[in-house]
Symmetry: C2
Subunit: 546 residues, 2 copies
């Protein structure tokens, strides 16, 4: 039986999550008390109010003399000293001063502390030449926070600063929610474990590695993971075993509605599928289910689908099991450098490179499919579009940001001889199209454009490469962003990187630069125009070209 | 001997760090190989290039039929099937089709895959009604990344996504730098361990708790910590012991140049102080030193100084020992809601609350001193100002952001009876000044302004409270942001929270609302004007007022 997940009948991630939450009623899994030293990144299970005023007494913020500000400037009689950590109840009378350490308690009726270095001392007379302001160099009792002030709330993730604050008010133990226990099951005959040799037609398994790292980094306990072949009874028995120890089980692969998609069959037989299929790209064939009253989530096999559903759905669901207040990821506003189009029917997530210029962000979206972990992991963030949405270049978008990469940027045509000299650069060798956009927005440190793509452009250097043709039969072509694509009609394949053409030598007609393939008949020359942002990079390239 | 750290002769954090790095020549502490499962947040010690093209073969992205796009629409003869994970070398001839699973290898010369649901099948004839585009539903060999593409670089912090990518290209082990081992020594007679009763004049120790949590969360190994009294020989012996096992030792307290500041004396006797004192606020009395060729850093005792020097100096230094490429924290642009002024001579860091309105950030800076961990930990980020810099309301600033708090906001005068009903609100009861700013920028959900502070304001509700006077002698006053401060001339203390006034009952003249102190003679009434953003909050307050 092959059922079809029809885009039009699917739910958005938000709708699906809502229904799933309503059906499964997730809640925190109990509480435990931990020492604040072990509380980092745990989720508070209680509202904590400060049991004390902070600071607990009015104290000096400098080494100096406590006086009444209204009597300054003037001469004061030194009547004693209060050291840090020491307790003395002292009141000063007219024109009297008390020596105090930084952090020491000050006399009740003092209203300023004069720094030692701003006084002169003659015997027991302190000469203050400066007019002091009221409260100068005093940290009043409770001036930081008063007793009863909320310092941590239920659901809050405990940061190093909050640990400092708990310590500062004298709290040593804190109640936190227990961590959800997660078990991961990956399925698929095509998967090979990383580290082993890759057989033809197979790919490496990466889902479990991602899920393990991501869920641990979010503060959950991944208590185990296993890989099973596409074998219905094996999947069934692993799922049953996992459910005995875990609070939630995540499976990958086999979630479509095809005949060999055993995961959805097993879940259906053992429990109840609440949601099958999301209006979401990448990640449509997602299953949200319950088995034995425990949440079971099935993810499609493609790694970027796993990442996106984890970020947008699983983390939100787990945050409820963990008792977390939900906080979404950071988003930054950026100007879009090229047009982007969503899937007609699905919410669509697209990776972007981010560039900063004059404190403004620019986002270049990259062509992308759900198997492209390399592209996704090299990007700086991603944007989400509503179904059918088209965004135009120049529009502002909100980017879910993963990192800021501040290295100088090489962007444009792939030329191996130049690229290998640029160790410290960020490399985006995706062709002339992004290079022209970079030029337009004043971005990029070394920008390389092919005259085959845009003949009118001028630059700091020109690099001319011979274009060779090698072999017979189907023509190997290039992605439309690349200059060389203009030379090749009706290709049988379109590569995004010119260097990939070597894979086809001897099997097809390969048209590529002499710097990529060694042999072939010269059919033309390609001029690369190189635009360089800074003199230091110019000198670097000059040495290289000479 | 009391030496003075003169602001004018001090170095900025950047200058100091540069000198310290030049004097100590820190470098990564060696390498080790780890399984990618244990590589999360570790620092790569090598550049890794992809050993394979990804995907390693051209594959179908759907369940369907592989054909040549130029022959669509049309009828095709089904000549076989390739399942996922299976390897078959198949070439299709004119008007032939091969059935393929999602993820299965496609015939070399196919140029599109038609989805099953977009075809009709009659025996071994597949009817394709649609015109296919070149490359439709095909993930070309290497279309994600080509062999030799850089997937991880030396110094990069390994994220869950990078772990997925390493797995996807078949890499199971990765060389990472060893983690620096850190020992923490806190000093100070005034410090009490959290959890124990607080004696008068003493405060709780929080530095070691912060440092432990923060440094662990940054991926370092805190191998131990100890507290010692202000006793020179004890400090000396603990430092010597710590240096035997740690790569770096951090001490807190005793770093000023006073007579009881033993830390600086001990470091000077055992090793060499490279930098003493920074043009930095909070955190001036910082020591950067070496003892036995190992870095030893002395931090001032105030907790927020420890936090700031950790963030702006120690983390940068440790990142070199750890082999990290340095990446600064996120900063966001915000509009300043009030004026801020730096110290005349020092780089100054000031905590801010952040608010979002229409995707724009607004930053309210809060009066602050280096002992104020409560204020600092409640803020959302901080801004840095150059010495002598004055920023005016309305200017744009860059904020080092710690979190985004999306709860509804109560801002303005502190009124305990209202505040205790607002469990889900973020509470900023700092007085009428920030409330008026919130109003101006359209921020805040419940904004409470005293007519004593600003008489012309109108709102959704009015709350009238009796102001009582209790006791004799020195008058307890309030911070100038608070309406009640207008009533009290020549106070002997100025509280930032009205609720703190109860501490002074029976000891001074306390002027406070009847909702805070129970007894006293009524001297006037204060009207609080309450402005509410949304109907749901209005109904909430309505129930409360009725």
């Amino acid at each position: 039986m092959r059922a079809i997940l029809d885009d039009k009948n699917l739910l958005s991630a938000e709708e699906a999550l809502k229904i799933y939450i309503n059906s499964t009623l997730p809640r925190p899994l109990g509480e435990e008390e931990v020492d604040i030293l072990n509380a980092l990144n745990r989720v508070s299970a209680e509202d904590i109010l400060s049991p004390i005023d902070l600071p607990p007494f009015s104290r000096s913020t400098v080494d100096g003399y406590a006086v009444r500000d209204s009597e300054t400037p003037g001469e004061f009689k030194l009547i004693g000293k209060i050291s840090i950590g020491e307790y003395k109840e002292v009141r000063i009378k007219e024109k009297e001063a008390v020596e105090v350490d930084t952090g020491a308690i000050i006399p009740d009726n003092a209203s300023a502390v004069v720094k030692v270095e701003e006084t002169e001392k003659n015997g027991d007379i302190i000469v203050v030449k400066k007019k002091m302001r009221f409260g100068e160099n005093i940290g009043w009792l409770g001036s930081d926070i008063p007793r009863g002030f909320e310092i941590l709330r239920k659901g809050e993730i405990i940061t190093p600063e909050k640990i400092a604050l708990l310590a500062a008010v004298g709290i040593r133990k804190v109640k936190v929610f227990k961590k959800p226990k997660i078990f991961i099951i990956t399925t698929g005959d095509e998967l090979i474990e990383p580290g082993l040799p890759l057989a033809k037609g197979k790919i490496y398994e990466s889902n479990s590695f991602y899920l393990y790292a991501k869920l641990m980094s979010e503060g959950y306990d991944v208590i185990g993971y296993t890989h099973v072949k596409d074998d219905k009874s094996a999947i069934k028995s692993e799922l049953e075993k996992a459910l005995q120890k875990a609070d939630i089980v995540i499976l990958t692969g086999g979630t479509s509605a095809g005949e060999k998609d055993y995961v959805h069959q097993v879940i259906r037989e053992l429990g109840k599928i609440i949601v099958h299929g999301l209006k979401f790209k990448p990640g449509k064939p997602t299953i949200l289910a319950t088995v034995n009253n425990k949440p079971v989530i099935g993810l499609p096999g493609n790694i970027v689908s796993t990442i996106m559903i984890t970020e947008r759905v699983i983390i939100k669901y787990l945050s409820i099991l963990a008792g977390k207040e939900f906080a979404d990821q950071y988003q930054v506003k950026a100007t879009l450098m090229n047009d982007v189009k969503a899937d007609k029917n699905r919410y669509t997530y697209v990776p972007v490179y981010l560039f900063i210029k004059n404190d403004k962000y620019y986002a270049l979206s990259v062509p992308f499919d759900s198997y492209m972990i390399g592209t996704f992991a090299s990007a700086d963030g991603y944007i989400g579009l509503e179904p059918g949405k088209e965004l135009k270049e120049g529009e502002e978008v909100l980017v879910y940001i993963k990192r800021i990469d501040l290295r100088p940027v090489y962007i444009g045509e792939e030329e191996p001889t130049i690229l290998k000299e640029l160790k410290e650069f960020r490399k985006i060798p995706l062709g002339s199209f992004p290079a022209l956009k970079a030029l337009k927005y004043g971005i990029g440190d070394i920008v390389v454009i092919s005259k085959l793509y845009e003949s009118s452009v001028a630059g700091d250097f020109t690099f001319t490469r011979k274009i060779l043709q090698n072999g017979e039969g189907d023509k190997i072509g290039y992605h439309e962003w690349i200059g060389l694509s203009k030379l090749i009609d009706s290709p049988s394949i379109r590569l995004r990187y010119i260097s990939l053409s070597v894979n086809f030598l001897g099997r097809a007609t390969v048209i590529a630069p002499a710097t990529v393939i060694n042999e072939g008949k010269e059919i033309t020359k390609e001029e690369l125009v190189i635009i360089v942002s800074k003199n230091e990079y110019k000198s670097k390239l000059k040495t290289f070209f000479e």
